[in-house]
């Protein structure tokens, strides 16, 4: 039976949540034993995972700064997870103090925690929703309070879309967001890939599948296809550290070790 729309999901802390596992990778303690167990298992298979997550987080920071410099002052961060160092609103508000950020996460714990942290911040709020409920997200009163639908917006799907299997048609979900984004808006995407380290991709996928958060790795072309309808900002779809690094020194000698693609697209 389909759950009625007014019935809430149960809070499930018996299973690892991608948001809390991610927090653990980043050295945070906003996680439970199940999350840490899952993360340690993954790191045994793939010791670079914390590095990759750091690179992903660094890409998020760079892309937000880039967007603010392009004049974007409102952000919708889909799959925002557990707030940690270098949150979108901190990065954005450091440059543009009136920048507004709406975080979206389906994990009720992540949402509750974010809400507690953002309690005093007039320019940031949290919506608990599924990525696919596009209309519900834009219609949420918290989102409507902060986001001006007539102004360009930065939509962030950082380390998000690889949790959407092909059968859920991620491209059509992205397209639904695109229709809500005024011209001049940006979409920021980072996405796990098997390109670079095909040897480890299979076991990693299996681990997430067992944890109840199946992971779909995608190729560069597939990631590019998800940004269909957007104008790709240079340098296009690249490994995480290669997207507009702060300095050449920040780029590792083997960027392909960071098995994720980064890309930013602009609405024409």
């Amino acid at each position: 039976m389909e759950r009625p729309s007014w019935a809430s999901d149960d809070v499930d802390i018996e299973h690892a949540s991608p948001a809390r596992v991610y927090d653990y990778y980043l050295g945070g303690s906003h996680n439970f034993a199940v999350d840490r167990l899952m993360a340690r298992q993954a790191m045994e298979l793939w010791p670079e995972l914390p590095l990759i997550m750091q690179a992903n987080r660094a890409f998020l920071r760079r892309s937000v700064r880039y967007l603010v410099r392009q004049g974007i002052t409102q952000f919708l961060d889909i799959g925002s997870g557990i707030p940690t160092e270098g949150n979108v609103h901190e990065v954005a508000q450091a440059i543009a103090p009136d920048a507004r950020v709406v975080y979206v996460d389906v994990d009720p714990v992540a949402a509750a925690h974010s809400r507690a942290i953002l309690f005093a911040n007039q320019h940031a709020d949290v919506v608990q929703a599924d990525l696919r409920d596009v209309a519900a997200i834009f219609d949420d009163p918290r989102a409507r309070r902060l986001l001006d639908p007539t102004q360009p917006i930065g939509v962030l799907m950082v380390a998000m879309l690889h949790f959407v299997p092909d059968k859920a048609e991620p491209a059509s979900i992205v397209a639904r967001y695109r229709k809500m984004m005024p011209p001049g808006s940006f979409l920021v995407v980072s996405h796990a890939t098997h390109e670079g380290r095909p040897d480890q991709a299979g076991s990693h996928t299996e681990l997430y599948r067992r944890a109840g958060a199946p992971l779909t790795m995608r190729s560069r072309l597939e990631v590019a296809a998800l940004l269909d309808g957007f104008d790709l900002v240079a340098p296009g779809v690249v490994f995480l550290p290669l997207w507009r690094p702060d300095s050449p020194a920040d780029v590792d000698d083997h960027p392909e070790r960071f098995t994720g693609f980064a890309a930013v697209g602009r609405c024409g």
């Binding site: 999901d9 050295g27 945070g28 997550m53 750091q54 702060d246 020194a249 920040d250």
Partner: protein
Amino acid sequence: MTHADYEAFAQRWTEAIVGSSYVSMGRRALAKHLLDLTYQLVEGFLAAEFDPSVGREVGVAMVAGHFTGTGTLKETLALIAEWLPGLLASAPPGVDVTGRVAQLVGSLAAGYASALRERSLDEQDAIYRAGLRARRQAEQALAASEAKFRAMFTEAKLGIGIGDLKGNITDANPALQQMFGYSREEFTQLNVSAMVHPEDAESVWEVYVELVRGERDHFRTEKRFTTRDGGEIWTDLTVSLVRDEGGEPAYQVALLEDVSERRRMQERLQYQAYHDPLTALANRQMVTERLEQIFAGPASRRRVGLCFLDLDGFKVVNDSLGHHVGDQLLKTVASRLTSCCGPEQLVARMGGDEFLIIVEDTAGEADMAALADKILSAMAAPVRVDDHSLTVRTSIGVVERPVADTNPADLIQAADITMYQAKAGGKARYAMFDQNRNDSEVASFTLSATMLAAVASGEFFVVYQPLVGLVEGALRGVEALVRWRHPTLGVLGPERFIGLAEESGAIVQLGHWVLARACEQARAWRNAFGDAAPLVSVNLAPRQLHEPSLVADVTKILADNELEPSSLQLELTEQSLMGDEAGPLSALTKLHGMGVRMALDDFGDGYWNLPDLRRLPLRELKLAGSFAAGLQSPCNLVDQRIVRALVDLAHALDLTVTAEGIETLTQCESFQALGCDTGQGAWFGLPGTPELIDALLLGAVPLGNREAL
């Protein structure tokens, strides 16, 4: 120690720890941050009053900067131990570099550990709080949704029942309680299986079983239920299966809307469409559909029977006693018919006083004959309506035949025709369908139906039979007789169609046409032969006598043909003069007054009413052919005396006498001897064309030449 030394140390530090912790800064910002810490460290180290807590502050600052990776501390401590002493070559004398480094490192590690512990505990605390908060919110949302559901359940006009998979009812909302009259507690004692209605379609329970087995998720149907007080309600029922999170059937929810009123309305409309409101019997529509059903099934060797009933003289009851009495009579007849029939037999009122009974799967005509007898005896007792005791007489047409040999329309028509035969046979009886009789009646019906068109299209023609004076043997007149040259049946005599024409009323038009045609011919003879032209005698049917326009019509036809009224004779039958009505007599009197001769035809065949002969304006008596037959034998004295007495009587009344049916010389001579004035019959000539009469008048052929026809 130069600034470059500091920068070199910070750079080395950056290289050592980069990647070991997630910090929200790029490498350049990281190096800058570490340079600040380096200054802090070195300045604390070189202070005159050495305070190892500077190490602690740096450790705390590192945790605050999210240098939380354990590798970071290790690399940092190793770096300080290895490189800081080299940087402190310029340390003031007396400073125990090694001792201070050891204290600094220890203090930094302690500060770091303590700050990291605090931070971890804070974060753990925060995330547990968040977990609790999220759970509480989810519970609140669930409670709110349950409250919404409960409100919906309680307030709904729709009946809602919840049951487990064994059919035990676990909850029922107020609407359902009201619908059935059970309280919630009584409902929870009930099982769905107790809700069977005797007339439930089997399929309802089949799909129900599929549902509780998890083979289907819902079904919808219209179903009857018995309420607590034994009443019956019709519901629009939807039953849905609710599954648990694992997809296994968990319980069932039934939604019921009371549609009894709508059903009752439908049933009433349905009933009205198929029943006669007065008698509550089936109506013609039901008969049509029942017969269609019977004939739609496999015919094999099945037989079917019909009784078609008509009340004799019902119109009189209605007209004389009023419709109220008529209606009561029909209701009584209906109930008597119903009592004669079994539940499998359909009794219908076809309209007016006509009833029909359909009997399926009869064994033969005997079954139907028995039923017809039963009906006749059931009708025998008088019917009491108000103060009237009415005798019911019915005529019944019965038909019984194999289904394969017929169809509904033919079957009803056969029963209908047979009913008229029963009526014609004397009423208050039944007639069994007779194929031959039916064929001839169908043929008659066809003739009757096409007659008027045949008059118009000239299929009728008139022949003339000589009327000969018995004294002088001369042609005195002719009787005009009508024939029908039918396109398929050949020439038909009056015995084939006059009766039909009288029944249908076509006799009026046909008679008028014959009269007009005969008068035209009379004109033609008068033109050709002057005063030698024969009298033309035309038959006048009883119906024609009742036509108000008869006198005017005759007058006009005579005028059109410029004929003297005395050249026309009209032959009437006794039958047409019976009755008390004034119209016919008045018409006759007028025609007589004009000078038209009136003849009484076929005298002696019916009831003789001798006083009538005096009362009526007659000029001639035509003796029926039966007298001629009686006079064939010369020694039949009785007939001779009767004829003589009749002739004498006629003459006494100043009537001439014509003898019909003279076929032999003996008959001719007998009538002559008895004083008859005129003779008619084969002896003098059969009916023939006007040209034959022409030839007779011209003397071209002799009278009595039978070859002429």
